[in-house]
Symmetry: C2
Subunit: 325 residues, 2 copies
């Protein structure tokens, strides 16, 4: 038996080495840049070697790790929460933006822009304990379906990015989410879906308060903004939570510009990538004029800054995990 | 040679297993409780097994991982900064609490309590970039000496706690600092001294702002409080940064009470410990009446809540790493 076992082991080792860690990426420039970067930063003796503790990689979520059209998935969650809570809020029937949500008119509800969204987030995300909110999110994310694809929202994550996250971690990188979305909206499922534990999720937040209710300690969510993790807020959030400048960053919109700038202007090897939504058939195509995930400055300045522009249509073999079957 | 190598290997494995992971702890109740807890939460098949991702252990810093007398070590840093910055602030000569610091009267400078300390922290910690501040802290911590012991402050960490941190990590725990001290004051040396990376350091903070100065992105520290990580703020800080309830917590003062309460009132196996400063000869002895690290409620309620009270005098063989020689 012994020689056979040795041979099987050798074969497994060989397969592991030969296997493509990014099978859903075409062999175009972005994949080559990523693998070259990982190799030079992780090979002993390389001039660009980076110690494991400093291998920090940050990822935007909406539009970078999962889809974000026709609106942020968290907005669907907020709308569903408003419908659920409406019986306790008779005033919402005539009060905007709530009235539009209850009438099923998403466009009118979002006409007030970010201000309207924040008002609705406050009204629906506060007032519970952190444990109650986690259960509300978990119940929703495991059952709610996207109106266009009919998929669970967690089935609309990008297969190439799942592979990239796993590839980085296998090479000693620590992967973080840095999103404008709600930190407590992402944490309940980020570990299961992305392999990213709650302590590596950074996002926007509301204030909370610790108290003891009937002998039971709870953390209560308050209707007050704590932090907006977007644009110039992203480097601030990174410093607050990580305290170290990342060496790799991926985003998809101008809301990620400062994060990519902060990441790439440090000394030593750096890599930044922008996911460019170019695939109207398999996903969505949008950039400069989109109301969600607008991308102007990144397209203009990214290439001259050495940032990789990932063209979803030509650089990705697949979009969603379901295409692996 | 071959049999000899095998024997040596076997011996090494045996020694590794037999070696006491906590050699600076006496074989008293606290050590037994800690090792029993680690064994039952990490043994496959144990009813109390905790998956590695949930093995979160949090530690207060001042008085728990290093000494805090005759005043918080960060206060020594603040005083030194005030002296350094005084030429640029002629008004400090007559303005309290700065005037007392410049006269060398620490007691008068601190007579204003927490308010005075925060005012001085603001004046000395803001106005720099994060990178500049990191360098200022590093320069100070590698040269400044404690007035009583003449040691570097980082030589006044507790050897038994260094062993506990390493023992936990070797058993798949993730160790975090959760301190009322400044987050950016601890991060520059926590990895080297405690083995705790910056992303696992939680503390009080001031607000910061991202900007591009002459083409170079920086994060600027602002003279505005962001978060006080003390008392009921500790569970809030834990939730913000970790997003998961710890299963183990150590503190030494009533400022840690809520952190220990939050940790131990979750379901499943939990362990909390209070470092009781009882050793006036080797360190300091203080508790109920101390102006620093006051401990009342923890002593009263800790034992009935099942918290371990670590008596430094009788439970620790050594205090500082220098005693290992």
């Amino acid at each position: 038996m012994k020689p056979l076992i040795s041979f099987t082991l050798l074969l497994l080792v060989f397969i592991a080495h030969a296997a493509d860690p990014l099978p859903s990426w075409n062999d175009t420039a972005p994949k080559k840049a990523i693998t070259a970067f990982v190799e030079k930063t992780t090979s002993d003796g390389s001039a660009d070697f980076v110690p494991p503790a400093e291998r920090i990689a940050v990822f935007d979520n909406d539009g970078t790790l999962w889809s974000e059209q026709p609106m942020y998935f968290q907005a669907f969650f907020i709308f569903d929460r408003i419908k659920q809570l409406a019986p306790q809020h008779p005033e919402w029937k005539t009060k905007e933006p709530f009235a539009s949500v209850l009438k099923g008119d998403a466009n009118a509800a979002l006409a007030g822009g970010e201000h309207a969204l924040i008002e609705m987030a406050m009204a629906t995300h506060a007032g519970t304990t952190t444990e109650e909110f986690e259960k509300i999110v978990t119940d929703w994310i495991t059952t709610a379906k996207h109106p266009k694809t009919g998929k669970l929202y967690t089935e609309m994550v990008y297969q190439p990015m799942l592979e990239l996250l796993a590839y980085l971690r296998a090479n000693g990188f620590k992967t973080f989410i840095v999103s404008g979305g709600g930190i407590e909206f992402m944490r309940p499922w980020a570990e299961r879906v992305y392999g990213i534990p709650p302590e590596q999720v950074i996002g926007s937040s509301i204030k909370t308060k610790y108290e003891v209710r009937d002998g039971k300690p709870v953390i209560v969510r308050l209707p007050e903004l704590n932090f907006i993790d977007d644009k110039a807020g992203k480097p601030v959030g990174i410093q607050q939570h990580i305290g170290r400048r990342p060496i790799m960053a991926f985003g998809n919109s101008d809301g990620d510009f400062q994060m990519l700038e902060w990441t790439t202007r440090g000394s030593g090897p750096r890599l930044a990538g922008i996911i460019h939504h170019t695939d109207a058939e398999r996903e969505w195509a949008y950039d400069r004029k989109s109301h969600i995930g607008q991308l102007n400055r990144g397209l203009d300045e990214g290439p001259q800054r050495g940032w990789i522009i990932v063209d979803m249509k030509s650089d990705w073999k697949r979009i969603y995990p379901s295409e692996m079957r």
